[in-house]
């Protein structure tokens, strides 16, 4: 479709009709884009691991007799301990499975909570104009200007360690962006015919917001949520690494890496095993997001895998 000059600079080619046709074809082909298949497949695997975590052993059992070398160092990879043991003689495989469970729970729950709060704020701000809009959007600006990690550490000081703390922190920091997204979308839609005709028919503000505008937010939010979930997984790991999320002995990929850091010079697998797990979980959410975007031509522009 595009011709290329000698040095490889593509030159625009066909007029609009050709392009529209090509888009049609690419849409048909992209019904199940590879990214969507890969992302969904990986997520199914991780969900299965999260559910079946107890199968992989007890993450808290310290095997002091056979779980450490005679000089007390963690074991490397072997048949008895497929991913080795950590500095306390605990099975790294079992801890990994429970760490994945933690990450998946955080991803799903905090994703729902932060998007729900953000969508409600954005919808309200976009629909009820005037003072409500001004106040809500200024609060959203504050939410976006917060130094994330510091704010998280301050909030962490208010609560006891655990899943709830992580989810509250992520919700408190992650709602602002979807609020902005939804607000922008409502601004785009609020002068469209269907809103105005509902107004003309005397529908109340709340009914227009919930029955006419909210359904239009779904494609946007469904596409955004895998990215949000990926950020949540990364942020949970960061919090737990800094000691502000899930504390030992409960396993989280972040605090496993924190443990691994002190063994960096003699047991690098304690860093690499949880690191690869974070990489794959986050990547599977991103791939899912990419796949969803590939199915939606409006959002394809913001794709990471090219157009």
């Amino acid at each position: 479709m595009t011709t290329t000059t000698a040095s490889g600079v593509p030159v625009p080619g066909q007029p609009a009709t050709g392009r529209a046709k090509a888009r049609d074809q690419s849409l048909r082909k992209a019904r199940w884009p590879p990214a969507l298949i890969a992302g969904t497949g990986l997520l199914v695997v991780f969900t299965a691991i999260a559910i079946a975590a107890p199968v992989f052993g007890n993450p808290l059992h310290q095997n002091l007799l056979s779980g450490l070398t005679p000089s007390g160092l963690p074991l490397g990879l072997s048949w008895a301990h497929p991913l080795g043991t950590d500095a306390l003689g605990r099975s790294e495989l079992a801890r990994l499975a429970y760490g994945i469970r933690t990450s998946m729970i955080v991803a799903v729950v905090s994703n729902v909570t932060s998007i729900a709060v953000g969508a409600a704020v954005g919808l309200a701000a976009g629909f009820f104009r005037g003072p409500v809009e001004a106040v809500l959007m200024r609060i959203t600006d504050v939410g976006l200007a917060l130094p994330y990690t510091l704010a998280a550490l301050v909030i962490a000081g208010l609560m006891t360690a655990g899943l709830t703390r992580v989810i509250v922190i992520i919700t408190a920091l992650f709602w602002a962006y979807p609020a902005r997204l939804v607000y922008g979308e409502v601004l785009r839609l609020r002068h469209r015919g269907f809103v105005e005709s509902a107004e003309a028919m005397g529908a109340s503000g709340t009914s227009i917001a919930t029955r006419h505008l909210a359904p239009h937010m779904f494609p946007l939010l469904v596409t955004y949520s895998p990215l949000n979930a990926a950020s949540a997984v990364v942020f949970e790991a960061t919090l737990s690494y800094l000691g502000a999320g899930i504390n030992p002995p409960t396993a989280s990929l972040g605090n496993m890496i924190s443990d691994g850091q002190s063994a960096l010079s003699y047991a690098p697998h304690l860093l690499l095993v949880p690191a690869v797990a974070i990489l794959l979980i986050t990547m599977s959410f991103l791939l899912l997001g990419e796949g969803l975007k590939a199915r939606n031509p409006d959002l394809k522009r913001v794709s990471w895998l090219g157009r």
């Binding site: 030159v11 609060i139 504050v142 301050v154 208010l158 890496i257 960096l264 990547m283």
Partner: protein, 306 residues
């Protein structure tokens, strides 16, 4: 243009004040007694009470609030509970240390991201490779990238120091960490903008005129990348100056983020407040500077729809 600027400055100031108020209130809810943190082994209640009176912690919240913000408007960030010196004198050197890292990090991002973006636009064969690299870098938390770099270049290859500190040798790995984690965003912008302008009528005209490819690339295509890249650089500089906490913790880089973490642990409220406010100011200021610069290089952005 002036109106847009004034509007943006006003919103910026409101956002900074909002962050400051929020941080102030949150800190008071944090359980823990600063007096106890200052004198952990104090036996008598009278000693602790004395400390509280000295720090004005015995006054009602509303009075402390008014005091703090009154001083803040005079440019005074208060005195550290623990270090017994002014918060400004504690923060300024740390801000400079973080500033170097932020600058080096942004340079690394622009180089790595720019290279990835240009490669994937101009050479179709590497497009899939670049996409895979982008996706991998996007999927990794900053501290994981930092630790893996530390493992490879510090512990295995012995090419970089592993002890922490702020020097020319110590800056390489943290800056590279920031660069790698930030690169995909720049690669994306560069690739997007280049694709847009390559498909534009003015590039078609330039090709038709018979201008050399290299000239078209530099004068017409890459120039368009400048404007969104400036916005991005501004956002990143602001965000990094507000403390690259995890990177500073991983590499022991004595910047403002590390100061904030230490002060949080010591319940040193004035210092925490100071770092949060300085951070918010950095975010807002650099976004604003970036917008002004952008209006300068790209006339199309001068009129912002209200």
């Amino acid at each position: 243009m002036a109106r847009t600027l004034i509007r943006r400055i006003a919103f910026g100031v409101i956002a900074i004040l909002g962050v400051a108020v929020l941080a102030f209130l949150l800190e008071f809810v944090v359980p823990g007694d600063p007096a106890r943190a200052i004198a952990p082994r104090a036996q008598s209640a009278a000693v602790l009470e004395n400390i509280r009176i000295q720090l004005h912690l015995n006054r009602p919240l509303i009075v402390q609030f008014a005091d703090y913000f009154g001083e803040l408007f005079r440019g005074n960030l208060g005195t550290s509970y623990v270090q017994r010196q002014s918060v400004t004198s504690l923060i300024m050197p740390r801000l400079a240390t973080t500033g170097w890292l932020a600058l080096a990090g942004v340079v690394a991002e622009v180089i790595i991201g720019g290279a990835l973006g240009i490669l994937s636009t101009l050479y179709a064969r590497v497009r899939a490779v670049v996409a895979a690299v982008n996706l991998t870098l996007l999927s990794l938390p900053q501290f994981v990238v930092g630790l893996v770099l530390l493992l490879i270049f510090g512990f295995r290859l012995h090419m970089a120091p592993v002890t922490g500190g702020a020097g020319p040798a110590e800056i390489v790995l943290p800056a590279l960490t920031l660069g790698l984690v930030g690169a995909p965003w720049y690669a994306q912008i560069v690739a997007d903008q280049m694709a847009d302008s390559l498909a534009s009528p003015y590039v078609r005209t330039a090709v038709a005129k018979g201008l050399p490819d290299r000239y078209i690339l530099w004068r017409h295509v890459l120039r368009n990348v400048l404007s969104p890249a400036i916005t991005m650089i501004g956002m990143d500089l602001g965000a990094y100056l507000s403390g690259v906490v995890t990177v500073e913790v991983v590499f022991g880089w004595p910047g403002i983020g590390l100061l904030a973490v230490d002060s949080l642990q010591n319940l040193d409220r004035p210092v925490v407040m100071g770092t949060v406010i300085v951070g918010a100011v950095a975010v807002v200021a650099f976004n604003l500077i970036a917008d002004v610069l952008r209006m300068y290089v790209d006339p199309r952005t001068r009129e912002e729809p209200a």
